[in-house]
């Protein structure tokens, strides 16, 4: 059934755009992650102004993006988490070719909280966050928290844990980080866009989590950095692998990306990355491009877009509060574009 819905979606998108497209226009359909949607929307619009390529992007979620590109109903997909080995194999079996990952921008997830009487930014160790979300640290004056926050008077009240209820890349990054910090988290819960939460209330979307946190005394939740910046929320500093408490910022996220060793297929997790200024709960978001594009016009448009996105496109990221790629990653991706046949 899902596949049928996708076909209908893709067909609808095509029909809707046919009216405005002139004869030489190259129409490209893409679908996937919602997190980078504002950035992609801006990029595709700017790129359309420069060239004859019109890219329609449906922000249906990373899972949908992977499913659609595998089914071949869109020209490329987008995802907040890299495809798993099984998903890559499924793509290979179905389409008879490889799928390439291209990082586009970076995102980060920050802890946000509401403790009456405590203002300003609290320090969180990874162990504290894992303990709270496992339900093992239940009070705000737990030693793990007071030790990291000397001089702050934390109350002895129970911690109310809030998490995302909808499947999301934000949850993927958060649980990926907790899995790296805590063995128990890795075995008991694991990492995914939705998990079986040991404790807590579920809020729908960033707004659902931040709404619950704001209304519930002594609560903690997690939201995307962009959401926190745009809504001027207070959020906590998190201890990175080098041992420093880092307040998330676009520069700190890019630093995390620069610190990670990039494999040739670009499928890398940069949570808890090394580097003194690296913010530990960061991640790339990826475009998923089939390795063979039969239509030469489409191939030209997609490869053209990739190299434009890596150069001029990266300059537009800060205006929308996305963290740009580090230079080394851009250079490596530029070379990888040649893999598209």
């Amino acid at each position: 059934m899902t596949r049928r819905i996708f076909i209908v979606n893709a067909a609808l998108a095509t029909v809707l755009t046919m009216g405005v497209a002139s004869a030489q226009e190259v129409l490209i359909n893409a679908a996937g992650a919602t997190f980078p949607y504002p950035m992609y929307s801006k990029w595709f619009d700017e790129y359309h102004k420069k060239t004859n390529a019109q890219i329609n992007y449906a922000s249906i979620g990373s899972g949908g993006g992977i499913a659609q590109v595998t089914a071949g109903t869109v020209d490329f997909g987008a995802s907040d988490g890299p495809m798993t080995d099984e998903q890559i194999k499924a793509f290979q079996d179905k389409r008879g070719m490889a799928i390439l990952h291209f990082p586009t921008v970076l995102g980060a997830v920050v802890p946000t909280y509401n403790i009456p009487g405590v203002a300003g930014s609290l320090n969180f160790t990874g162990e504290a966050l894992a303990g709270i979300y496992l339900g093992k640290i239940t009070k705000w004056n737990d030693p793990e928290l007071t030790k990291a926050n000397p001089g702050v008077k934390l109350p002895g009240s129970n911690i109310v844990v809030v998490h995302r209820s909808d499947g999301s890349g934000t949850t993927y990054i958060w649980t990926d980080y907790l899995s790296k910090i805590s063995k128990e988290w890795e075995t008991r819960v694991g990492k995914a866009t939705s998990v079986k939460w040991p404790v807590g209330l579920g809020g729908k979307g960033n707004e659902g989590v931040s709404g619950s946190v704001q209304q519930t005394a002594n609560s903690i939740g997690y939201v995307e950095l962009i959401y926190a910046i745009q809504n001027k929320m207070t959020y906590g500093k998190v201890k990175n692998a080098a041992g420093d408490f880092i307040q998330a910022s676009l520069a700190g996220v890019t630093a995390a990306a620069a610190g990670a060793t990039m494999p040739d297929d670009f499928r890398v997790s940069i949570t808890n990355a090394p580097g003194k200024t690296a913010y530990p709960i960061s991640s790339f978001t990826w475009l998923l491009i089939p390795a063979k594009i039969a239509d030469p016009a489409k191939k030209k448009a997609i490869t053209g877009f990739l190299s434009w996105m890596l150069t001029d496109g990266q300059k537009m990221t800060a205006a929308l509060s996305y963290a740009p790629l580090p230079n080394a990653v851009v250079t490596k991706e530029m070379k990888a574009i040649a893999k598209i046949q």
Binding site: M1, G64, S165, G167, A192, S194, K196, G200, L201, K204
Partner: protein, 304 residues
């Protein structure tokens, strides 16, 4: 082929086609849900309905907490909504002056057209804080029952039930008022002539006469509350666990489908969400069937 002579034949064919289309759509829906949930049905069998683990990471899926949350919140909505809705309908149809009745009915019908996300937002920003403020009172009066025990964070099955009741009341009022008004005047005149008071006439004659229609309005309300997604997920707390307390968070079938479908990958996970859709369909049929049996039995008793 039979020749269509009169307008009657044409109307017959057209309306028959309409009716068959609805039937075909329902059948197709069930078929698609059944077909696409093959993977989890083979893997879990009937245990899908009675286990309560929902873990996308390990691929274990059980529907029980969602079934529980759906039934409890809808039950609570009806418990609050039926007396309020039917009471208001009686007032508007029988007791209120026509001007007031028409004006109020217009407003109530507007309420029925409000999108559910608005009810959800009102739930988060108005109802939940109000319930938090009211909590000590509720706990003081009813705290001795297991239904109102444990910590209360605002988002809960109680909040979801209350929001749902607000959403279904317009349906109950609007339809019940129409059917009460449709009761023949002779019925009322007869009762009054026999010496009944106005209230006795309403309660003992008019309401029993309109009972089937009122039950119809309640079925519609029930269907809406079982399937409501947006407003419920915003206030229920989205925790797939079974708690006796209405103060505790829960989860409903429609809410988990809406929350997780977009990011679900793999046949087992997607299939399990689709199977939940099938379960909701079955649940609706069973509850509606039970309610119909109930109505049938009371109607027979009334007739004898």
């Amino acid at each position: 082929m039979h020749r269509l002579r009169s307008g009657d034949d044409i109307a017959y064919v057209i309306t028959l086609t309409c009716a068959l289309t609805i039937l075909a759509l329902t059948a197709l829906l069930v078929f698609e849900l059944y077909k696409n949930s093959a993977v989890p049905r083979h893997q879990f069998g009937w245990s899908f309905l009675v286990t309560s683990t929902w873990d996308p990471v390990t691929g274990e899926f059980g529907a029980l907490p969602f079934i529980y949350g759906t039934v409890v919140t809808s039950g609570l909505a009806l418990f609050l909504g039926i007396p309020l809705g039917v009471g208001a309908a009686i007032f508007l149809a029988e007791l209120a002056p026509a001007k007031i009745s028409n004006a109020l009915t217009f407003l109530i019908e507007l309420l029925a057209a409000v999108p559910s996300v608005i009810f959800g937002l009102l739930g988060i920003f108005v109802l939940v804080p109000a319930l938090i403020a009211l909590e000590p009172v509720i706990r003081g009066v009813l705290g001795w029952t297991p239904l109102f025990s444990g910590p209360f964070y605002g988002v809960s099955m109680l909040s979801a039930g209350v929001v749902l009741s607000v959403m279904i009341i317009p349906f109950i009022i609007s339809i019940s008022r129409e059917v009460i008004r449709a009761v023949p005047t002779e019925q009322r005149e007869g009762a009054l002539a026999l010496g009944a008071t106005k209230w006795e006439t309403t309660w003992d004659v008019v309401i029993p006469f309109a009972r089937t229609g009122i039950m119809g309005s309640i079925f519609l309300a029930l269907a809406r509350s079982l399937g409501e997604t947006m407003a419920v997920t915003m206030v229920i707390g989205n925790d797939p666990a079974i708690h006796a307390s209405l103060f505790a968070p829960g989860y409903s079938i429609a809410a988990v489908i809406a929350n997780e479908f977009a990011e679900a990958t793999g046949d087992l996970y997607l299939g399990s969400l689709i199977e939940l859709g099938l379960v909701l369909f079955g649940l609706t049929i069973i509850i509606n069937g039970l309610a119909r049996v109930l109505v049938l039995s009371t109607t027979k008793k009334g007739a004898s």
